[in-house]
């Protein structure tokens, strides 16, 4: 008989949505990623590629373009014709503004960052001025015949290149008139396709325009004369994206075959100054279309329909051979989508638009360590809870007793009461939720299921008393000194006395729930918190950061524990520090307070290394539940990739 009985749960049919666009911000070293369901995620590349923030998606907002402007401001545009700006502090949408040009296909911020250009379905290119709190329409450029699929500014800001169907236009920004129109060859390996879509353009400072198109070509144009300089046929299918390095010595393109090609500007001979673009390395990290690419100073970033976000470091740019020099593939969100009711052995799965409640199977058999036990009772799908409206679910939680389910979207907060009568379940919605609870970023029930903690995006923490079928708002901890930083993580002590809350950047606040006041603040650390939990009995707060550091902070003593200090002194093992997926959950062994159980997407101590692990928790002292999501299952649910013959010629 082993130490734990492990439930290996594989019925969580979670499929992340495909990546539509990425935008890299050089100043803050952050990456904005938008997915096909409208979700926008912000990754902090300095903080071990941690997904810091996310904006929940919306069914009608298909993002087609994403860009950073004026330093840290993030804009997106989509097929609903709106330009949106995101509030990165409060984690909500600042405003949405219709461009009045039909669906927007492309957007580009000027090199100075003060202007925004969008390309619309009706063939218009619209220039917007970015004001400190809004954007303002400035003027239209010469209208083209077909939709503008790609846009690029000349680094000096005087000209722009716009890719359309079958041609590329060059505009003079001052006059707004088209200077050149360059027709793209429709021929594809000798076969004339119906249309050639210019999926991407890049304007280099020497006047070269690089275009990628649906015929599989990467072409170099001279913008001064409007002529084709060189053409590389690289794929049998569309080349869908292009990104150029800031130094303009390399660029990257992504194809519909899942291949990413790197092009470099290399000298023709060692003793001449003449340089040429050559295709160097192909990378095949994707199985499906690479819809978008980005070029950071040290890495090539690509994302596509197969939902992976891939960071491919450039070896020649990496100075130290640390974990930054390794390939990174991010598939799963860095937050918990699963909550568990320990008492009733229930699992609540959160999907974009629905929740699923499952009862774990049980077994009566016993076996040796490592045995697979036969199930005497199969897992039950108890509940399928669909949301109303087009918005995605932000967060959800089931109470430890299993009788409450809470979830939140951007506009509403839902609380349900579950009644169990043998095998039947009845669900009753608790009505009249107060408006300030909406758009909650994190929901947590206390261990005895009597209190509900809600972190709202306004920075406030709400405590709600639950009793019977009703609720009562107890208290709201308001954020300090007017900062509107949203709290994303909550942890409550098993005895229900302490509540820890962490924001995206500042330190962890610990509140006394009994006295309803701020107890203390854990000193801020450079890296964001990825998971935290309060240990039973000792009330030690264990905090995991994105750089894989783990701290233990004694709440009663208001200081780090001795163990934490010695660990910090000695440092963690380098193999531990080299792990690239953040710790997403922490739990404790009830009988052995010295043990901390940590897991990230691929590892739980040493139990399982091969399968992506989405969730793991202890049900009781002898039982462990692990939710796995094999990548093959995700790929099986995606649309089929472009068929390629293995030895195709």
């Amino acid at each position: 008989m082993g130490e734990f009985k492990v439930h290996r749960v594989r019925f969580f049919n979670y499929v992340p949505s495909g990546i539509r666009c990425v935008a890299y911000n050089n100043q803050s070293n952050r990456l904005a990623v938008s997915r096909t369901d409208g979700t926008v995620e912000i990754y902090n590349l300095s903080a071990n590629y941690f997904q810091e923030k996310f904006f929940p998606g919306h069914e009608s907002r298909a993002t087609e373009a994403l860009c950073w402007a004026e330093g840290q401001r993030l804009f997106s545009a989509g097929l609903n014709g709106e330009i949106m700006e995101y509030d990165l502090q409060a984690l909500n949408i600042k405003y949405a503004m219709d461009a009045f040009g039909g669906p927007i296909w492309s957007m580009a911020a000027s090199p100075s960052g003060s202007q925004l250009l969008v390309g619309c379905e009706d063939g218009s290119v619209k220039l917007f001025q970015i004001t400190p709190d809004k954007i303002q329409f400035e003027r239209n450029f010469d209208r083209q015949k077909s939709r503008i699929l790609s846009l690029s500014w000349h680094p000096s800001g005087t000209h722009i290149a716009a890719g359309s169907i079958d041609y590329i236009s060059v505009f003079d920004v001052k006059s707004g008139s088209a200077v050149h129109k360059m027709i793209v060859d429709r021929q594809y390996m000798g076969v004339s396709k119906r249309k050639c879509i210019v999926w991407g353009v890049a304007f280099l400072s020497d006047g070269t325009i690089i275009s990628v198109d649906s015929a599989g070509k990467v072409q170099f144009w001279d913008s001064a004369t409007g002529t084709l300089v060189k053409s590389h046929l690289i794929a049998n299918a569309d080349v869908q994206s292009i990104a150029v390095a800031d130094q303009e010595d390399s660029f990257v393109v992504g194809t519909a075959e899942g291949t990413v090609f790197h092009f470099q500007l290399v000298p023709v001979t060692s003793n001449s100054s003449e340089k040429q673009w050559v295709r160097t390395k192909p990378f095949q990290h994707h199985t499906h279309d690479v819809r978008t690419v980005a070029h950071s100073p040290t890495a090539l970033i690509s994302g596509g329909t197969d939902t992976h976000l891939v960071f491919r470091p450039l070896m020649e740019k990496v100075e130290v051979k640390n974990y930054d020099a390794a390939l990174r593939k991010i598939t799963f969100p860095h937050r918990c989508l699963i909550s568990c009711s320990k008492k009733r052995q229930l699992l609540l799965f959160q999907f974009a638009h629905h929740l699923e409640l499952w009862r774990l199977g049980s077994t009566v058999a016993t076996g040796k360590n490592g045995d697979t036990l036969p199930l005497s009772k199969n897992a039950d799908h108890l509940l399928h809870l669909k949301t109303k409206g087009p918005e995605n679910i932000i967060c959800s939680c089931i109470s430890p007793c299993g009788s409450w389910i809470a979830y939140s979207t951007v506009s509403r907060f839902f609380l349900y009461r579950l009644n169990y009568e043998h095998d039947n379940i009845s669900l009753k919605r608790v009505s009249k939720m107060p408006a300030f609870l909406r758009s909650a970023l994190q929901i947590l029930f206390s261990e005895d299921s009597t209190k509900l903690f809600v972190a709202s995006n306004q920075g406030a923490l709400h405590i709600v008393q639950l009793s019977g079928g009703s609720f009562k708002h107890l208290h709201a901890f308001q954020p300090q000194s007017g900062t509107v930083e949203a709290m994303c993580l909550l942890a409550v002590s098993p005895d229900g006395n302490w509540l820890a809350a962490s924001g995206t950047s500042a330190g962890v606040h610990v509140y006394n729930v009994k006295q309803l006041k701020l107890h203390c603040t854990v000193p801020a650390y450079n890296f964001p918190v990825t998971a935290m939990a309060i240990a039973p009995n000792t009330n030690n707060l264990v905090i995991a950061h994105s750089d894989q550091q783990v701290f233990e902070y004694s709440i009663p003593d208001k200081q780090y524990t001795d163990w934490s200090r010695t660990v910090q002194k000695q440092g963690f093992h380098h193999l531990w520090l080299q792990r690239d997926t953040p710790i997403t959950h922490i739990s404790f062994h009830p009988k052995r307070p010295m043990h901390i159980l940590l897991h990230d997407a691929y590892m739980f101590c040493i139990i399982d290394k091969s399968l992506p692990l989405l969730f793991m928790d202890l049900l009781d002292e002898r039982t462990l539940v692990a939710v796995e999501r094999p990548l093959d299952d995700i790929i099986a649910q995606l649309p089929p990739p472009i068929k390629k013959k293995k030895f195709g010629t």
Partner: protein, 830 residues
């Protein structure tokens, strides 16, 4: 009369043409390739061998054009010399003696007075690239000892070294790394690929390298079929490479086109791939080249490529990827099952060639005549695949019939066996499949022989098999209402106590058939197919069996596996003599009684030539080869030699060729290598030294005619039908390689003129008319003469004899008149 020297074992052609990259001349007219100890110069248009450059005393390992004079060629050899040749005239200009074994040669236009060679100085497997300064000196032989070291620990093969960008750097690959040495900076950059420890990169080894002619780009070929294009390699960190992947197996060679716009690659797939603009999508193929591409080279003029193949062939390919010429040597890359045979018609050597083919190889001209596809199935080149093997072949009835046996054995019990009989078709000048017999025997066929007796009215074939039977196959009428045809059927099946039949052999007159069943030899009457007698020596299984010939036809010889050679007398049915000799090869000479036997000992192979009638050998040569000799054959000479010495008499009528285990074809010769120079090449030498202008043809012909005329004496015979050989224009036409001839339109009039009977030599056509005319004249003349003779008659009263005398005098006068005419014309010609 040939001067008699010692008999030496010499290589006789068939040497590898694919040992190194072939080199084109600057004008792409000639292609050079190393071939054993020689360098061969071929015409790229006619595929004809123009010159053989003799002079090296060991294997030639590298050739390069002299970058400063494109009419000269450097060659290096394991004998430690670098030689400079004038390849147009085939003259050795200079010899530079380096002193150590040279493994490859490179020249650079920038390094004017030095060349680069690969040497191994200390340990046997450590090779160095060194530059050799070639001193300027007028003497024929110069010592070149000034070596300067460039790169150490390199691969022996010249494919792994390439000079780039006008000699700024040299790239060398070995195992998992690429080193680039920059001559100016004197620095080496080294780039290593992840090695075999990683399973994914298990076959990352470098196999070959090539440099872009104008850009700084190095192409490297790899074991797993990838081609990497390296750029930016001045910087250890910023270097970058891109991959081209089409080959599924190792890339054997790479070459850039002259302008560098395309890259050529080849490998086991036998497909030449042209990568245009070094992009993966833009590639062209030249498939079905027949065998693994070993080397690729590009002509300096850029109009031709050539590929050397593992089946000893060079294909010359046009820039537009069209094969234009094939230079085919003896195919050697497979094991020989059929042994050596002589095609009675062409006198060509016949043996296994390409997979599933029989090759007909001309020993005289050292080139393949043609390939006969026996198996007629697509050959799939894959490791571990059990192929159909052509195991036996035999010619019969003076080359009219060819029998072949092919087999494939996947498992012990699953034998696929097929016998094919091919008939020679005079119209197509080739063999046509006549009969196909599936499973002629239950087990492998061990021997196959035709009855080659002259008197035999019906072609007969005997096969012996491990299944214990021998079968007699005869040609019968296979006609039906649609066509007249002949086919082969089984006539008789014989066996002896269920022993395996191992050998069979017909006597010279075809009356007796000897079949050996393991240790026992049985003699059968070939008319009634009854067993006449048996011989058993209890000396092991019979390995070879043959009848004596001519005066010795009463003897039967058998060689056993226990190393006993027995000779039985068929008249007395008793053992005549036996000798202890471990015979590996036993071949009778078809033109004499002699039998050659090659015995194998631990030291090497020895040759014994003997007559069956006496146990004492005629000739013994020990140590003819260190290796095992696999096959041998007597090849009848076209022109018999006349050795007087008793020891050499066996070489008078036939020449003995043998094939060793490493597949080198060797023979015995008494001539020195210089004498072996073929007359045609000498003739070409002389002819080519004259410019082939129209004047040459006119004047040259006249000179020859004059020479002939001067030799002519007045008392030469009557009007003679000129033999074609004697007409210089025709002989010129026939002996001059086509590529040096002027246009056919020009030659036509010359040719026709030469056939016409000119004033001095009359052709057969003109003679009748001429004669008629002369007769008319003569009749006129004769009137006078008659008068004259009548006068004579009148004056001399000689009675009976008059008529005869008159006639005689008439004919004499005719002759005289003719000679007068000839004389006259000869003067006119002067």
């Amino acid at each position: 009369m040939v001067e008699e020297e010692n008999i030496r074992v010499v290589r006789c052609g068939g040497s590898e043409l694919n040992f190194r990259r072939a080199v084109f001349s600057a004008d792409s007219k000639y292609i050079f390739c190393v071939s054993g100890d020689f360098v061969k110069v071929y015409s790229t248009v006619t595929e004809e061998c123009v010159h053989i450059l003799h002079g090296h005393r060991n294997l030639v390992t590298g050739i390069q054009l002299n970058p400063n004079n494109h009419l000269q060629l450097y060659s290096c050899s394991l004998d430690g010399t670098i030689k400079l040749w004038d390849y147009i005239d085939g003259i050795l200009i200079k010899t530079f003696i380096v002193g150590c074994k040279l493994h490859a040669l490179f020249t650079l236009a920038q390094a004017e007075d030095s060349v680069f060679v690969i040497v191994n100085k200390e340990k046997p497997d450590i090779f160095q690239l060194v530059s050799v300064k070639l001193p300027k000196s007028s003497s024929q032989e110069v010592e070149a000892k000034e070596l300067s070291f460039v790169l150490d620990y390199i691969n022996q093969s010249p494919k792994c070294i390439a000079f780039g960008n006008e000699g700024v750097y040299v790239a060398a690959v070995r195992e998992f790394y690429l080193s680039v040495y920059f001559f100016k900076k004197k620095t080496t950059s080294r780039f290593t690929l992840s090695s075999s420890r990683n399973k994914k990169h298990a076959k990352n080894n470098f196999t070959c390298v090539a440099c872009h002619p104008t850009e700084d780009c190095i192409a490297s070929g790899h074991m797993d079929g990838k081609i990497r294009l390296w750029r930016n390699f001045y910087d250890d960190k910023k270097y970058t490479y891109t991959c081209l992947h089409w080959h599924h197996d190792m890339v054997m060679d790479l070459a850039f086109s002259v302008t560098g716009t395309s890259l050529l690659s080849g490998g086991r797939e036998s497909v030449l791939v042209e990568w245009r603009d070094a992009t993966e999508k833009n590639k062209e193929f030249l498939p079905r080249l027949g065998a693994t591409i070993e080397h690729i080279s590009v002509s300096p003029a850029g109009d031709l490529f050539c590929t050397s193949h593992s089946d000893n062939k060079i294909i010359i390919i046009h820039r537009n990827l069209e094969a234009s010429a094939v230079i085919q040597g003896l195919v050697k890359d497979r094991s020989i099952f059929t042994g050596l045979m002589i095609d009675p018609r062409t006198k060509a050597l016949v043996l296994n060639g390409k997979p599933g083919h029989l090759q007909f190889y001309s020993l005289q001209s050292d080139k393949q005549l043609y390939n006969l596809d026996i198996i007629q199935q697509e050959y799939i080149n894959d490791y571990g695949l059990i192929q159909i093997e052509l195991t036996k072949a035999a010619f019969g009835c003076f080359g009219n019939w060819l029998a072949t046996v092919e087999q494939r054995q996947e498992k012990e019990t699953e034998l696929e066996l097929q016998m094919k009989l091919w008939m020679y078709n005079k119209k197509t000048q080739g063999f046509i499949l006549n009969t196909k017999i599936n499973m002629p025997h239950e087990d492998c066929i061990t021997a196959l022989c035709f009855c080659n007796a002259e008197k035999s009215e019906q072609p007969t074939l005997v096969t012996a098999s491990k299944d214990g039977y021998f079968k007699v196959w005869i040609l019968t009428d296979d006609s039906d209402i649609y066509k007249k045809a002949v086919g082969w059927t089984c006539d008789f099946v014989g066996s002896y106590h269920k022993y395996q039949a191992t050998n069979c052999c017909f006597s010279e007159d075809g009356s007796l058939l000897a079949v050996s069943f393991e240790e026992i030899v049985t003699i059968w009457d070939s008319v009634t197919w009854e067993l006449k007698c048996t011989f058993c020596q209890r000396a092991g299984k019979i390995r070879h069996l043959c009848f004596g010939r001519l005066t010795c036809s009463k003897y039967l010889l058998g060689a056993t596996e226990n190393g006993i050679l027995c000779c039985w007398n068929l008249l007395s049915c008793a053992l005549e003599w036996n000798a202890k000799l471990n015979v590996r090869v036993m071949e009778p000479d078809p033109n004499s009684e002699n039998i050659a036997a090659i015995s194998q000992s631990s030291v090497g192979s020895d040759l014994f030539v003997f007559k069956p009638s006496e146990p004492r050998p005629l000739y013994i040569q020990k140590g003819i080869s260190r290796e095992k000799v696999q096959w041998g054959v007597f090849v009848p000479r076209d022109v018999p030699e006349s050795f007087t010495s008793e020891a050499y008499q066996w070489l008078n009528r036939s020449q003995f060729y043998f094939l060793t285990k490493s597949q080198s074809l060797l023979t015995f010769s008494t001539k020195s290598p210089e004498e072996k120079l073929t007359p045609t090449s000498k003739q070409l030498l002389a002819e080519e030294s004259l410019p082939t202008t129209p004047f040459y043809f006119i004047l040259g012909k006249h000179r020859q005619q004059q020479d002939e005329k001067l030799n002519e004496t007045l008392e030469n015979e009557l009007v003679q039908l000129p033999l074609t050989e004697n007409i210089p224009a025709i002989s010129e036409l026939l002996h001059t390689p086509a590529h040096v001839l002027p246009s056919a339109a020009f030659l036509c009039s010359m040719f026709v003129n030469s056939l016409l009977l000119s004033k001095e030599t009359k052709s057969a056509k003109e003679i009748p008319e001429d004669v008629d005319m002369e007769e008319e004249k003569e009749s006129e003349d004769s009137d006078e003469e008659n008068d004259f003779t009548e006068k004579v008659q009148d004056t001399s009263n000689t009675g009976l004899g008059e008529d005869i005398i008159h006639q005689l005098s008439k004919s004499e006068e005719k002759e005289l008149r003719k000679f007068r005419k000839i004389d006259y014309s000869w003067i006119a010609a002067l």
